[in-house]
Subunit: 310 residues, 2 copies
């Protein structure tokens, strides 16, 4: 069948938005300020990339769209939004503009923004704990997600020997690395943690959710796909940040470079970065070979998102 | 049997501390700054009240100490600690001192403190998702806890008709209420949410964790005990804040009054507040009548904690 990636994107985003609309307390729910702040940032024009990847991973594994998968996607988007709200705070990146709109603390004040981020994290876990699936599946998904958005230690069963990358850990490394000349190892570690961990777990969680007894090989392949594709997306983001202006990006352009932040093109240059992103996508595709035609949507998404212009 | 409440407190605190020591990444785990910040605030001399209540509720219902209950208690303490770290931030209460020690942002900077709070919330949910219990029990506990530490809406099954109090919601109400002359209804709503919800869920979660098939009556009684005793603890806290100096309290005394914060003694006066706390404890005891002698530890704890001097 012919695959229209724009249809995949728009139908996945619509499913996610419906779930978010239902799951987030309404703007007139007391206390008002925090619910309005949570909605302000959640409905600020995000692409719903993580939910869409989750939904398509679940569809690939299950052969159909499992009941409640949009709620799982919505939970992942809440976690992404919470991380952006806190990352934009004056004490962190001090960003006034995000997706062309005032950031949460600019619109609602710093105290409310801190608490709105906190509440989005909580609501994400509440949402996962309320998914209509077998309790063992819910627990497995929740544990994977919690590890992925943490400081990056504590992969269950492997605590002593490996550090799983974690989203908060990536933010900390990013802060600790400011002003230091970025090395290749540092850039990769930050990317894998700060953005890669949540993208990867979106795909892994979709796979866990879509199958009653997921095989280790399936989960490992989804993890590899997520790690490779996630890194490619981030490299493309960094390249766009260096080559486009603020109006095209909807955020302050060149900010990462200005602050001497650790980015892929800062280490490798733009041309090599684009080549690396293409190689990572090829590797990501390889991981999905055993799924055959069922992998077409995930592959199409990965291809499209690394070829994007904003 | 004679019940020594100080033994209950010290053994419960020791169990909790051992679990926290094991569950929190070590101070030399990369990235250092956040793990040290998480430990700084977690091991700053807290009484471990919530874990101890959780442990004793589980023991009462199970007749023994269920495996892993100290980890559940540790997760509750992580949530309490995260809320304190964020509450102390300059944008919120702007407190420099907590339990006689510099607050997290004073010791580690604001960015790290924000992320350390975030990471403690995440680790709490990761810990609950890793408890050695039936998945259905884990999911039930996790959902209760998430609702209790959220904005206060979304009690599952009762969404349209009731607002369950939530910890973050209480913090928001507290901020929104500053400078407004406190009313009795406002004070009670804030107390039930800001501190009451987590205390109550500590007891309810202990009950859920301690029984394979908890009866609705058991959970309802534990909830009533928690709500009444939790409100009594908070009233005693407010009275101590007005009547003691900073050295006795280990934090800045009179701060709540100075900021015209909504507290029980500010509305009712000190004498009436003490009477109310005593009545609440009597009501809390009534809720546990069917448990007979097995309820003695929980009752002794409640009695002791409302009679405390700091």
């Amino acid at each position: 069948m012919a695959l229209n990636v724009k249809d995949l994107l728009s139908s996945g985003a619509a499913l996610t938005d419906q779930a978010l609309e239902r799951l987030l307390p309404g703007p007139d729910t007391l206390p008002h300020s925090i619910h309005r702040a949570m909605r302000h940032s959640t409905f600020a024009g995000g692409k719903r990339l993580r939910p869409i990847l989750c939904i398509e991973a679940a569809r690939m594994v299950a052969g159909t769209l499992p009941e409640g998968v949009a709620d799982l996607g919505a939970a992942l988007e809440m976690l992404h939004t919470y991380s952006l709200i806190h990352d934009d705070l004056p004490a962190l990146d001090n960003d006034d503009l995000r997706r062309g709109q005032p950031t949460c603390h600019v619109a609602f004040g710093e105290a409310t923004a801190i608490l709105a981020g906190d509440a989005l994290q909580t609501l994400a876990f509440q949402t996962i704990a309320s998914l209509p699936a077998a309790p063992a599946t819910v627990v497995a998904v929740l544990r994977e997600v919690a590890i992925a958005v943490g400081t990056g230690v504590g992969r269950v069963g492997d605590l002593e020997t490996s550090l799983a990358p974690g989203m908060i850990g990536g933010q900390v490394m990013d802060i600790e690395g400011e002003g230091v000349k970025p090395t290749a190892a540092m850039v990769e570690a930050i990317h894998r943690a700060k953005t890669g961990a949540l993208i990867t777990v979106s795909i892994v969680a979709g796979g866990l959710y879509g199958s009653a007894q997921p095989s280790e090989d399936t989960i490992a392949r989804l993890r590899t796909f997520g790690e490779k594709a996630g890194l490619a997306f981030q490299i493309v983001d960094d390249v766009l940040d260096m080559t486009q202006d603020s109006a095209q990006l909807g955020k302050t352009a060149g900010k990462d470079t200005a602050a001497d932040k650790a980015t892929w093109p800062a280490v490798y240059g733009i041309e090599r970065s684009i080549q690396d992103a293409e190689q990572l996508i090829a590797d990501a595709f390889d991981a999905l070979t055993p799924f055959g035609e069922a992998a077409a949507p995930l592959k199409a998404l990965a291809q499209y998102l690394t070829a994007r212009k904003n």
